[in-house]
Subunit: 194 residues, 2 copies
């Protein structure tokens, strides 16, 4: 093994392809055949790694969640040392995402919309990401010395979710900018009451 870069497993290739195609076309509308074609993998390989399309969707969402959180953490780490600025950075990150041409919206929101059944594993995967985000933002609030971190975190996350959802429907980044302004007001209000 000459290089440190381990070549991607078939499993990873499948998840990569699935994420791209689900993102472009939705979950129900994207077929297995298209996924294996893009991944360059045989159908039986897919069904060896994942028992069903639903399992693949769940695995893809789980990895998307890990990637998104890791990406967010590193960007926030690099953004500023001021804890309040770090809180606002989640909106800057969202703004860049929404500005991207071809941005189709939040995968977790779309998954929860397509798989409405709350007991469904796909819906649960989306809900898990929400919980992880709340945990992360609560920590950021805690670092900022807020009295009730979980409460402010929820307020900011509702704002964040709304910004992304509104941008998904309307296009553009206006909702995100608006949300950033609101976020600052909410943070200040919490500090003042604190």
């Amino acid at each position: 093994m000459p290089a440190q870069t381990t070549k991607p497993t078939k499993r990873d290739q499948l998840i990569d392809a699935a994420l791209e195609l689900f993102d472009a076309g939705g979950f129900h509308a994207t077929g297995i055949d298209a996924i294996i074609a893009r991944a360059g993998v045989a159908k039986m390989t897919l069904y060896k790694h994942f028992g069903s399309k639903e399992e693949l969707i769940v695995a893809a969402l789980d990895r998307q969640s890990e990637d998104a959180l890791a990406c967010m953490k590193s960007k926030i780490e690099a953004s500023s040392s001021d804890p309040e600025e770090r809180l606002l950075a989640i909106f800057d990150i969202a703004e860049k995402q929404c500005a991207d041409k071809g941005w189709r919206g939040c995968a977790f929101l779309r998954a929860s919309g397509e798989f409405g059944d709350l007991d469904c594993a796909v819906h649960a995967a989306a809900a898990n990401h929400g919980a992880r985000m709340h945990e992360f933002v609560s920590q950021l609030c805690s670092d900022a010395g807020v009295t009730n971190p979980a409460c402010l975190a929820q307020q900011l996350l509702v704002l964040h979710t709304g910004a992304i959802a509104s941008a998904q429907i309307a296009g553009g980044t206006d909702p995100v900018c608006s949300a950033r302004t609101s976020a600052r007001i909410l943070i200040d209000a919490t500090r003042a009451a604190g």
Copy 2:
């Protein structure tokens, strides 16, 4: 004709059935056959009134938009005469919706998620509802004597959308209550800034 209640047209029956089934199972996952069965209507009747499934979806979303706005207007009319309370009432309405067992989320948000193509008529129908909501809430803000009604309206709508989207993913009404608290803070801040 003894009664004033005109019997519903086949078209209306189809839209009613479609809204119920789309709400329960999503747009792609709900088949034409299920819709006509629930509506008690022949398939050819559907294709006489609507040229395609997509047209039916658009018509259903358009009527949902009209109904939702009319319902919201009448409830707000009946809620309070204080303009600030009327603004907050949109969150009370959302809270009652989310509390309903079997609530599956916002139809427009789900539609925009399933039909990602911005040029698609379905996506446009969802975006139209967003624009109508903004117009309506801007008027409420204007009635409240706010300096920049469109700006506060967008802030409140991002909050409103985020509350509904978060509730769709996580279940429960916590995000809506949190959003209501945030809304009051944003309104006060706007007033203070005058």
